[in-house]
């Protein structure tokens, strides 16, 4: 775990169910609501919710279950998403725009174009990814509040 520069003044974890398309996005919606209630600047909220949503959808599509933890300090927003799933073989490849292993079902829903991980990185000030094939993936997203 990285040092955030200050102890979180807010921290909350949410479970994400793999394969649950009806509730996909509910966790990111809660993240957005919390950030709005805490009067985080709009641009940081948008970046955080887009990153959280992309990460949440990845858990829904590819993992059995996952957890999103939102930590907030006076300076930073941190979103850690861990999952138990198939993992990613070749992270460098997965980080390239357009690379995708998505099924036809995922593509029909409007996703799976190989934009998810690059878009998470684009919306982060710091982004770390670690994955073990057959076990799961950890994403660590940090966004400056201002």
């Amino acid at each position: 775990m990285r040092v955030m520069g200050a102890e979180p003044c807010f921290e909350k974890s949410f479970g994400i169910a793999g394969g649950d398309l009806v509730n996909a996005g509910v966790v990111s919606s809660k993240v957005k609501k919390i950030l709005q209630e805490l009067h985080v600047p709009c641009q940081a909220i948008r970046r955080a919710t887009i990153a959280a949503y992309e990460a949440e959808m990845n858990v829904v599509w590819y993992a059995r279950r996952g957890t999103l933890t939102l930590s907030i300090t006076p300076e930073l927003l941190r979103i850690e998403v861990t999952d138990e799933g198939i993992g990613i073989e070749g992270i460098e490849l997965a980080m390239k725009d357009g690379y995708s292993t998505a099924s036809e079902e995922i593509r029909q829903m409007g996703f799976g174009a190989g934009m998810g991980l690059p878009n998470i990185k684009k919306n982060s000030d710091e982004f770390c990814i670690d994955s073990v094939v057959g076990q799961g993936t950890v994403l660590d997203i940090t966004i400056r509040r201002r």
Partner: protein, 116 residues
């Protein structure tokens, strides 16, 4: 351009009316790929799409999309409408295909996200 003007230009049916009938739209994006929408759309844009699933509304929520237009006469299901209503995202449906719907709005002066 107001949403009311957009409705007229697209001969659209309104499924969820905006809280402000004079809601102003400054730019638009036509796309069926939510991955692209999340990556490229600007805040407060109008999204025209042929997809009508729940994730379109979720995408609109996360990216601060101001309103949704479903093209090719595609009607969203009850769950999608309920979610959009809860998130206060106006919904319109036009029978026009994507190219023509976008073309009409562009011809009337509504710019794309890369121009606005």
């Amino acid at each position: 351009m107001t949403l009311e003007e957009i409705k007229k230009i697209l001969d659209a049916q309104v499924i969820i009316t905006p809280q402000d009938p004079q809601m102003e739209i400054k730019m638009a994006c036509g796309c069926d790929l939510m991955s692209d929408v999340l990556a490229f759309i600007k805040e407060e844009a109008l999204l025209l799409t042929g997809l009508t699933n729940l994730q379109v509304v979720r995408t609109a929520e996360m990216a601060n999309i101001k309103a949704l237009v479903f093209v090719r006469g595609k009607k969203p299901d009850r769950e999608t409408i309920a979610l959009a209503r809860a998130k206060k995202i106006p919904l319109l449906v036009t029978d026009l295909p994507m190219y023509e719907a976008c073309g009409r709005l562009y011809r009337h002066g509504l710019p794309g996200c890369s121009e606005a």
